[in-house]
C-alpha cells in the first residue's frame, strides 16, 4: 500500500511540470487568439520548425547547449539555498576572458589544449563573478538576488568598455568603422562541429547515399552533415552527468544540498554554512561562465555585443533548470525542449508573423506556473509525512526544488 501511494505521488510530481507548461501554452494560445491567429497553426509551425527538419533540429540542439550549462549552474545555486539571477553577467565575463585568452594564445596552443585553456578561462571568470555576490551574502548579508542583478549590468558595461578598447578587432579600427567586436579567434581552437567529428570517425556518406528517408534521414543529417551543431553539446551532457555525480555522490555535494535544505540543521551538524554558500555561488557562476566560453569557442568564434552573446540565456536557463526539477539529468531534456521553443519561436515569426517575443512571455508564464505547482508537491509531501512518518525520506527525488529560505 505504501509503495503504491509512493508511486502515485511520484507520478503526480513528475507530471506537474508538464501540466505547468501546458497551462502556459494555453494562456499563450489565448494571447494568439486575441491577435487573430489560429494558435494550433502557430504551435504547429513552432514544433515543426524546431524539431521537424535537419536544420531546425540542429539549431535546437545548438541553443540547448548554453541553456544546459546555465541551467546546471542555476540548479547548484538553488540546491544550495542561494538564488543566482546573475547568469547573464557571469556568461558575459566568461565569454570575454575566453575571447581574450583565445585571441592572445590560440595560435600557440592549437587543438584540444587551446580549447581547454579557453574553457577554463571562461569558467574561472564566471566563477569569480559568482563568488563576489556569494561572498557579499555570506559576510555582509547582501541579498544575492539584488547583487547578482547589479553584477549583470556591470558585466555588460565592462564588456562594452573592453570591446571598444583593448579587445576591439584591429580590422575594425583599420577600416574606421569601430564596431565594438573582437577579432576572430584562431580557427585552430574552434570546438569541432558534429560534421567534423563524423568525418574523423569515417562517416562521410550523406543520408541520401545511405538511403535513409524521412525523419531518420533528417536525424542522420543533424549528426553527420554540415550544420552549426558543435561538440559543445556532448560537453554539456557530460557536464550534466558530472554535476549529478558531484551533487549526489560526493561529500561536498551533499553539504551543498544539506545547507540548501536546512541551513540551521547544517550548522548544528558542524558544516560551515557561509563557506558552502560562497561555494555554491562560485560553482553556479562557473557554469554560466562555461556557457559563455562554449558559445564563443563553439559558435560565435568572436565576442560582440555582450547582451547579444548572453542572449537572455541567463533567464531562460532558470526556466530550463526549474522544468528539469533542478536535477542535472532532468536539465538535459528540459534544455532541449526550451532550446526548441526558442528556435520554434523564430520559425513561427517567419511563418505566421507572430513576433518571437511571444516566447519570452510564454517562458515567464512557465516560471509562474512551475513555481505555483510546487505548492501542490509540498502540500502532498507534508501530508504524507504526517501519515507515515516512519518512512525514510528518499534523497533522489527532487521534491523540494526551492529550499532557499531566509533571504538576505
Amino acid at each position: 500500500m505504501n509503495s503504491n501511494r509512493l508511486f502515485s505521488r511520484r507520478l503526480f510530481n513528475a507530471l506537474l511540470p508538464f501540466l505547468a507548461v501546458l497551462a502556459a501554452f494555453a494562456v499563450g494560445a489565448v494571447i494568439l487568439l486575441l491577435q487573430g491567429v489560429n494558435p494550433l497553426e502557430a504551435y504547429q509551425a513552432m514544433i515543426v520548425g524546431a524539431f521537424g527538419s535537419k536544420n531546425g533540429l540542429a539549431d535546437t540542439l545548438v541553443k540547448s547547449i548554453p541553456l544546459m550549462l546555465v541551467g546546471l549552474g542555476i540548479a547548484i545555486a538553488f540546491r544550495g539555498g542561494v538564488i543566482n539571477i546573475g547568469a547573464e553577467g557571469q556568461m558575459i565575463v566568461g565569454a570575454l576572458l575566453t575571447t581574450f585568452v583565445g585571441v592572445q594564445l590560440g595560435e600557440q596552443f592549437p587543438g584540444m589544449l587551446g580549447i581547454g585553456i579557453g574553457l577554463i578561462a571562461g569558467m574561472v571568470m564566471g566563477g569569480i563573478w559568482g563568488a563576489i555576490p556569494g561572498f557579499l551574502k555570506a559576510q555582509l548579508g547582501v541579498n544575492e538576488i539584488l547583487s547578482t542583478i547589479m553584477m549583470n549590468q556591470i558585466a555588460i558595461q565592462i564588456g562594452y568598455y573592453l570591446l571598444r578598447g583593448v579587445m576591439i578587432d584591429p580590422a575594425e579600427v583599420a577600416a574606421g568603422t569601430n564596431i565594438p567586436h573582437s577579432a576572430r579567434l584562431p580557427k585552430v581552437i574552434d570546438m569541432p562541429r558534429f560534421t567534423d567529428m563524423a568525418q574523423w570517425l569515417g562517416f562521410d556518406q550523406s543520408a541520401k547515399d545511405l538511403g535513409l528517408q524521412g525523419y531518420l534521414g533528417e536525424v542522420y543529417g543533424v549528426l553527420v552533415e554540415p550544420s552549426r551543431l558543435h561538440s559543445g553539446f556532448i560537453f554539456a551532457v557530460v557536464m550534466a552527468v558530472l554535476v549529478y555525480i558531484f551533487l549526489w555522490r560526493t561529500t561536498i555535494g551533499y553539504r551543498i544540498r544539506a545547507v540548501g535544505l536546512n541551513p540551521h540543521a547544517s550548522r548544528y551538524a558542524g558544516m560551515n554554512v557561509k563557506r558552502t554558500m560562497v561555494l555554491s555561488m562560485t560553482l553556479s557562476g562557473a557554469f554560466a561562465g562555461l556557457a559563455g566560453a562554449v558559445e564563443i569557442l563553439g559558435l560565435h568564434h568572436r565576442m560582440f555585443e555582450p547582451t547579444a552573446v548572453s542572449a537572455g540565456y541567463g533567464f531562460s536557463g532558470i526556466v530550463a533548470a526549474l522544468f528539469g526539477k533542478l536535477h542535472p539529468l532532468g536539465i538535459i531534456p528540459s534544455s532541449i525542449l526550451f532550446g526548441g521553443l526558442l528556435v520554434g519561436g523564430d520559425k513561427m515569426q517567419r511563418a505566421m508573423q507572430i513576433p518571437q517575443v511571444l516566447i519570452v512571455a510564454v517562458l515567464g508564464l512557465v516560471v509562474l506556473f512551475v513555481v505555483s505547482t510546487d505548492y501542490f508537491v509540498r502540500k502532498r509531501s507534508t501530508r504524507r509525512v504526517s501519515v507515515d512518518s516512519d518512512e525514510k525520506p528518499t534523497d533522489t527525488t527532487p521534491t523540494e526544488p526551492n529550499p532557499a529560505e531566509a533571504q538576505a
Binding site: 539571477i85 557579499l136 548579508g141 539584488l146 571598444r164 532558470i318 515567464g364 513555481v371
Partner: protein
Amino acid sequence: MNEDLTTAAILLGIIHSGIRLATPYLYAAIGETFSQRSGVLNLGVDGIMLMGAFFGFYTVFQTHNPWLGLLAAGLVGAVMALILCVVSITYQAEQGISGIGLYMFGLGMSSLLFKTMLGTVEGVKGFSELRFCFGDSFCLADVPVLGDIFFSHSLVTYGAFALVPLAWWILNRTTWGLKIRAVGQNPEAADSLGVSVNRVRYASVTVGGVLAGLAGASLSISLLNIYQENMTNGMGFIAVALVYFGSWKPGGVLLGALLFSTVNALQLWVQVLNLNIPSDVAVMLPYLLTILALALPFRRALQPAALTKPFARGEN
C-alpha cells in the same frame, strides 16, 4: 568667470535632470516599499513597469488624453500585481523566482503588443512640464536657480515626490499601515489578532503594482513621450534595490532615488562634457554604488522579519 558660469549651469542641469529622472524610481520604489513591508518581495517590478509604459503610451496615442494613459497604466499594473499575488501569496512560491517569471512575462508581452499594435516608435503628447505662470509675464520657472530646480517639472514628477510623505503617513499613522507592518513583521501574531494576513498582503502588493504601472507610464507619457521595447532597461530592479537601500522607509527610498538619479545624470554629463572617464565606466557607477550601499552593515536589522516568507495558517 565665464568658466564658472558654465560650471554653475552644468551643476544646475545635473540637479534638474536628477530630480526629473527620480520620478520612475520613486513611483516604483515607493510601491515596492508597500509590498515588502507587508512581507512580499515583488521582483517583477520591471515587467510591470514595461506593461504600464506600453498601455499608458498606447492609451494616450489613441485618446490623446494623458490622464486616461495614467489610468490604463495603473490598471494594468494592478492586474500584473494580482498575478504575482496568486503565485507568491496564495501558492506560496519562492519569491525570488516568481518575480523573475513575472518580469519575463511583462517583457515579452509588452514587446509583443508593441510590435503587433504599433510597430514603429512614435511620439505622443503626454504631460508637459509646468511653468507656474502668474499673469502674462511672470513665471516661477524663470526664476534663476530655484526655477530650474523646483518649478519646471510635470505633474507626474510632482506626484512622485508627493507620494513620499503620503506613503510615510499611510505606513506610520493609519490602521491600514499598522496592519501592513504587522503582517510583514510577525504574521502569526497579526493572524491571531484577527488580521487577514493574505488579504493585507494582496492589497499591499496590488498598490505596489499600480505604482509600478505609473512608474512605467511616467517614462512613456511624461519624461520621454515615446515607447521603445524594453525601455525601462532594468529600472524596476534598481527600484527593488532602492527599497533595501532606503531601509524600507519612504524617506530612505527618496534619498536613494535622488542619489541614484543624480549619479545617473552626472554620468550623462560626463558623456556630454567629454570628461576623461569612459562612458561605459560611468554607466557602471550607479550599480556599483548600489552594491556598496547594500553592504552597509546596519541595514539588515531593519528588514521586515517575514520578508519573502509565505504565510500559511497553522503550519508554524
